[in-house]
Every structure is written in structure tokens, then in C-alpha cells.
Amino acid sequence: MPANLSVRPSVRPVRTTRPALAAVARRRALHGWAYAAPTAVLVIGLFVIPVLLVGQMSLSDWPLLSGNQGVNAPQNYLDAVGHRYFWDSVVFTVKYTVIATVLLIGLGLGFALLVQESSRWTAVLRTSILVPSALGLASASLLFYALYSPQVGPLSPVLQTLGLADGPVTFLGTPDSALWSTVFLVVWRFAGFYMLLLMVGLQGIPHEVLEAARMDGANRWQTFVSVTLPLLRPSLALCTVLCVTGSLLAFDQFYILTKGGPDNSTLTVVQLIYNVAFQGQNDLGVAAALSIVVLVVLVVVNVAQLRAMRTGRED
């Protein structure tokens, strides 16, 4: 990319000889490379090489403790797809992604609309919704691990005192309750973040447009559906991409809260990768094959999402 920019200098001195011209072009090319080099080094060092390495691992027999034992393609991919929890984890990850994305974008948008208008409580509200975002996901998960704990957690007694529950509540004890308890944590942790993103989007919508809609006699709902939402599309696209990608890669919260339990009902794909690599099977080859599968899926999902958003805008 940088090379293309520099071979055609936009301003050409009128009276220059050919060799001099070539020298200028060469110098500009060098400048271009120099500017691009730091980024290129980072991308190559932190993305291209690791991906190639994972690719190589995925094609090799590669136990965690004894290293590369030579090529065994495509055995790792067959093992990965044939793993006894592969399809369960895929289904669960997709289910979790759908729930998390719908809730986060919906609530984020709701909060954004709520705090966008200035009233005396706005500042307090904004802050209180945003504060959880300052906490790391792992710390937040640990906090909720304690809150949910049947031994020391205060939530279960509180619910019982309020008469909302008959007996002790087991937040992480059944597949459904474990899923929803984790979803609650994630919503608590991330709703503020998406609220912030969507608020910026909302503030980017010109007042004139909204006023014009009102003068045309549109009610609040019509304005929201036909003016605000379409103009918010870029922000929504960004949020959806972030949220879907983040949820498909969910790991920390489940690793800390449920360890994939109870009975492997909350095992996400990334957790499966971790388990295969470090928790028993200790097989980096199969784990790498799973990683490559996830990578490909993510690329496809993201391209599809961005394309869908773009076509929408062109309409």
C-alpha cells in the first residue's frame, strides 16, 4: 500500500531530469516504507507469524509437553471436529452469542436513549451504568463468583428474605441458571460500554433532521424507527461486530464462574480449546486446529456482518 502512494508523486516539478525524478521517487518510496514499517513489524510479529505457527501446529502431531512430532495432517482437524464436546460447545457458544448480543445491544440502546436527554439525574445514571466497565472481566467474574457462591454469597439469602425464592438459590447449579447467571454478569459488565458507543452515535445525529421529522408530524416512535435507527446504523454495526466477536470468543467469565459446568453444559469453543491444550488432553495440535476453525468462522461472520451493514446503507 505505501509503495503505491509514493510511485506517483502528485506534484511534479516542471523541469526535472529523468534521473533526478527517479531519485525523488525512490526517496519517497523509502519514506513510505519507513512510515509503514513499525505497523508492518507489529502486524507480522503479532499476527502473521503466530497465525502461521498455529497453522503449522494444526497440521502436526504436537503434544504440549514434548513438542513437534512431525506432520499428521489432517488428523488434528478430524479429532477436533470429532471431539466429544465439539458440537455441544458450538451450539452453546452460538446460543450464548445470540442471547448476549440481543440483550447488550437492546439494553445499550435503551440506556443510551435514556441518558441522552439532559435531566438532573443523567450524570448519576451515566456514571452508574458505566462504572462496571472499568472493572476487568476476570475481576468482575470473581466478584460474581463470590456473590453467587452458595456458601458465602449474599444474593441467595437476600432473595429468600424478599420472598422471591423458596429455598436456597443455586445460581450456577443447573445448566440454565449457570447460563443466565453468566449472561447477567456480562450484561452488567458491558451494557455501559455499548451505551457509550451508541450515545456517541446518537449525538452524531444532526438536530435539524430530528426537528424536520417532528415538523412533518412524526411521533416519537416514527422518528425513532425512520430517522434515528437508520442514521445510527454505523454505530449499531460497530457494536454488533464487537459484541458478536466478543461473545463467540467468550472465555474468562465461563472459565471463572462455571469451568464449563455443570456437566459441560456451559462449555464455549474457546474453553474447549483451552481444555484440549492444557487440561488433560494436552494436545496443542488439536487445540490449534480448533483455533483455526474458530478463526475462519470469525472472518466469515465479520465479513458477512460488515457486508450486510454496507448493503443496507446503500439502499
Binding site: 501446529m57 457462591s149 469451568k259 456437566d263
Partner: protein, 434 residues
């Protein structure tokens, strides 16, 4: 597009270290292919010349490791620097280091992982040096066997941890039970638990790590052994956990769960807090790690200790804990051996471990001045020499891993409908036999 790149970069970044590391290892394991691991040239005493040694261990044994290292450093020229790693991260950390040839001089490993790690060549061969030790024949057999491959020895016991029944004497008294008499059969254990549970309030009869394969192995295997049956065949390739004694054990626990005598949270307990409720005085009786004796006494006053019984009596224990060996990467094997050799000395075993109320690794030291003071410690020491260490190459995957077939089996039998013992047992065998 930037988003997915970042996200996927994060995904693969976690493999970078291990990946780069393993490339380097490839060369080394190729050269080792013929001769097995390299023979460390060591003498009975090793060398004490002021070398800095590194030692890794996992968090559950932090207390003992600290005491041992302090005592060694105080009396030797060599200085050991101890690194304590969280339990769940230990395998990953050792794996990454093994790949990059950067293992510490010495490292401890959960004894049930040792056969696998020895097979992978992580430990140096110390057979000859062990043979030179005065008390070689007194060292705990289970641990030595775990570190033996093709007749060559690689590890010595670092800290033994055996499972015993702990009971809360105060709660026993309140429940009208004899505080000096622990359960001698599983039926009695069940009665005691139900009696204590009857006290109500925050108190429950018993507790266990219902979602923690490691805890279940450690506390339930002895009940099967005490019932006179095995959990695996001798080679560790076939599971025998569908046997009669095993089924009786599941039955006792299922009954306890259904009668509500098991503490809240047992079903979800992944092992992070499985010892917590007992130490808070909220549990009557449960199989417990004997290494916690000092801690439990501190928290509860004197706790009761009894061997883990089988369905109809008998007694057995799981001799767990960590074995220690010199790593394949150590360039200071002679100095590292000095630490290992000292570990087996009376000074380390009695003046450090026994003094702290821990189990000694040498049978001839079971009766010592500290165990003489506390009959419970003596009892634990005697149990330990009778105990067993189950050995299998794929132990971690079959039993300890989250969601392992063993965890599935126990949960089906104890929390679920039950009746799937045979099929679940075949799953365990399938993993063991890989």
C-alpha cells in the same frame, strides 16, 4: 475488519509462546529419541557450592514448600528460589517452559501426573543417586513407582498428602455423637453426617467437590479400596469403577445428597473452595487432605481424624501430594540433587515436615518425637504407609480434567438418575486406553 484481526490475534497470541517454545524443543526431543532422558551425573550428597537453584511448585503445597526451602537455605550454601504457581495454571506453565527448554532446576508435580511427565522426558534420570541414599528402601513406594519408567527412577516424594476423614468435634458433641470416635464404615459416616445435619442452621452434615475430578479421586478412591476393590487395572489402562464396592460408595453419597445432609454448593464445587466450609466450622464430617491438619486445628481447635472407611469397614487412603525431580533443562543437576538428597534426610522429614504436622515420606520416620505427641499425626503416618497411589499415563484427562468422564460418572450417579455406571465406566476406559 480491524476488529476480527484484533480478536483473532488475541486468540492465537496465547499459542505464540507455547508454539515458539515447542519449535525449539523439537530439535532436542529428536536427539533424545534413542537414549531416553539424559542421565544426570550425581552423587549421594550432590554438590553444595553456593549455586542459585530454582524450584517450582503449585499453590496447595505452598506452606510446606516454603518451610522446606527456608530450612534448606538456612543450612546450605546453595540457595533455592521458590516459585509458587496457582494450581490450575501449573500444567500450562510447565508445558510452555518444557517447550522452550526453560524449566527450573527442580520442579514438583502432582504425583498423578508424574508418570505422564516422566514419559514425556521432563525429568532427569536419578536412579543411581537414589540407590546411594541410606534409606532408599524406606521412601514411599507409591511416589517412587510413579516416577519409574522402564526401571529408571526420576522423582522423589516432595510433600505427601493423604486423604483422611476429618470431623468437627464440637459439632459431634452438639449432635450427641462421641467426639473421640470417628466413623468406621461408610454407613456410620452417613449416620454421623445426618445427625450433624440435624443441628440445622448453617451447619450441614458433609461436603464434597461435586464438580471437581481431582477432589473426587482423592476422597472417593480410598472408599473403593477400603471396600476391597481396585479402581483401575495394574497398567492404568482400564477403569474398574463400575464394581460393586464403587457402586455402593455412589449409593451412600446419593442417599446423602437426597436427604439434604450435603452442604449447599457441593454440586457446583469446582475445587476452588472445597475445603472452605469445613474450616469455617459448618460441616460435620468429610474426607479431607491431611496436609490441612495444622490449618484446621488453627481454625477449629482440635479436629477429629479417622481413616477413610469402605462400605463395610476397612481403611485406605490416597497417597497424593507432589513428587519432585530435576528437570531435563537443569545445568546444575549435582547441586539440585543436593536439595533432593537433603529432602530425604531426617532433618527435613522430621524437623520440618513432621514438626508442621505433615506426613513423612520415609516409613522408618513415621514414629518420631512430633508424631509421638499427637496420636492423630501418628495415625496419619501409619495410614500413609498403607495407602495407594493410582498410576496411569492418561490420569489427568480421565479423572482430573474439568468435565472428565469420571466427573460425568459421579454426577450421573450422585446427582442424577443413576443407572449409567457401565456406559460411563467405558468412557473412562476409552480415555485411559488411548
Amino acid at each position: 475488519m480491524a476488529t476480527h484481526r484484533r480478536a483473532s490475534a488475541r486468540l492465537v497470541a496465547s499459542f505464540l509462546a507455547a508454539g515458539l517454545a515447542s519449535t525449539a524443543l523439537a530439535a532436542c526431543s529428536a536427539s533424545d529419541a534413542n537414549g531416553g532422558t539424559q542421565e544426570a551425573e550425581v552423587t549421594a550428597e550432590g554438590v553444595d557450592d553456593g549455586t542459585e537453584l530454582t524450584l517450582w511448585t503449585r499453590a496447595p503445597l505452598e506452606q510446606q514448600a516454603n518451610l522446606l526451602v527456608e530450612a534448606y537455605n538456612a543450612s546450605h550454601e546453595n540457595q533455592v528460589e521458590l516459585t509458587v504457581v496457582p494450581n490450575d495454571d501449573y500444567v500450562a506453565k510447565v508445558g510452555a517452559a518444557a517447550g522452550s527448554d526453560s524449566l527450573p532446576d527442580l520442579f514438583a508435580a502432582d504425583i498423578v501426573y508424574v508418570p505422564n511427565w516422566v514419559q514425556q522426558g521432563l525429568f532427569a534420570d536419578v536412579t543411581d543417586a537414589v540407590g546411594e541414599l541410606d534409606h532408599a528402601d524406606q521412601i514411599n513406594k507409591g511416589h517412587l513407582e510413579g516416577g519409574t519408567l522402564d526401571g529408571r527412577q526420576h522423582v522423589l516424594p516432595f510433600v505427601l498428602d493423604v486423604s483422611v476423614m476429618f470431623y468437627n468435634k464440637d459439632l459431634y458433641e452438639q449432635a450427641g455423637l462421641d467426639p473421640e470416635q470417628g466413623p468406621t464404615t461408610l454407613a456410620e459416616f452417613s449416620d454421623h453426617a445426618k445427625a450433624v445435619d440435624g443441628l440445622g442452621g448453617d451447619v450441614s452434615g458433609t461436603y464434597f467437590g461435586g464438580n471437581c475430578g481431582g477432589c473426587l479421586v482423592f476422597t472417593w478412591f480410598p472408599q473403593v479400596w477400603a471396600g476391597g476393590e481396585d479402581v483401575m487395572n495394574a497398567e492404568g489402562t482400564e477403569s474398574l469403577l463400575a464394581g460393586d464396592a464403587a457402586q455402593e460408595v455412589y449409593g451412600v453419597w446419593q442417599d446423602l445428597v437426597q436427604s439434604g445432609a450435603v452442604g449447599e454448593g457441593s454440586k457446583e464445587e469446582t475445587g476452588a473452595t472445597w475445603t472452605g466450609p469445613f474450616l469455617e466450622g459448618e460441616v460435620g464430617v468429610m474426607p479431607f487432605p491431611a496436609t490441612m491438619l495444622a490449618t484446621a486445628d488453627e481454625a477449629l481447635g482440635e479436629v477429629g481424624v479417622a481413616p477413610i472407611p469402605g462400605p463395610d469397614g476397612g481403611a485406605s487412603t490416597f497417597v497424593g501430594g507432589d513428587g519432585i525431580g530435576i528437570s531435563k533443562d537443569s545445568e546444575q543437576a549435582d547441586q539440585a540433587w543436593n536439595f533432593m538428597s537433603w529432602l530425604m534426610s531426617e532433618e527435613a522429614q522430621v524437623e520440618v515436615l513432621a514438626k508442621n504436622g505433615d506426613v513423612v515420606s520415609r516409613g522408618d520416620l513415621a514414629e518420631n518425637e512430633y508424631s509421638a505427641k499427637d496420636p492423630r499425626v501418628l495415625a496419619v503416618n501409619e495410614i500413609a504407609s498403607e495407602g495407594r497411589t493410582p498410576l496411569a499415563i492418561n490420569f489427568q484427562q480421565a479423572f482430573n480434567a474439568p468435565g472428565s468422564p469420571w466427573v460425568t460418572m459421579v454426577r450421573n450417579e450422585v446427582f442424577g438418575e443413576g443407572g449409567a455406571v457401565e456406559t460411563d465406566n467405558e468412557e473412562i476406559t476409552a480415555v485411559l486406553a488411548q
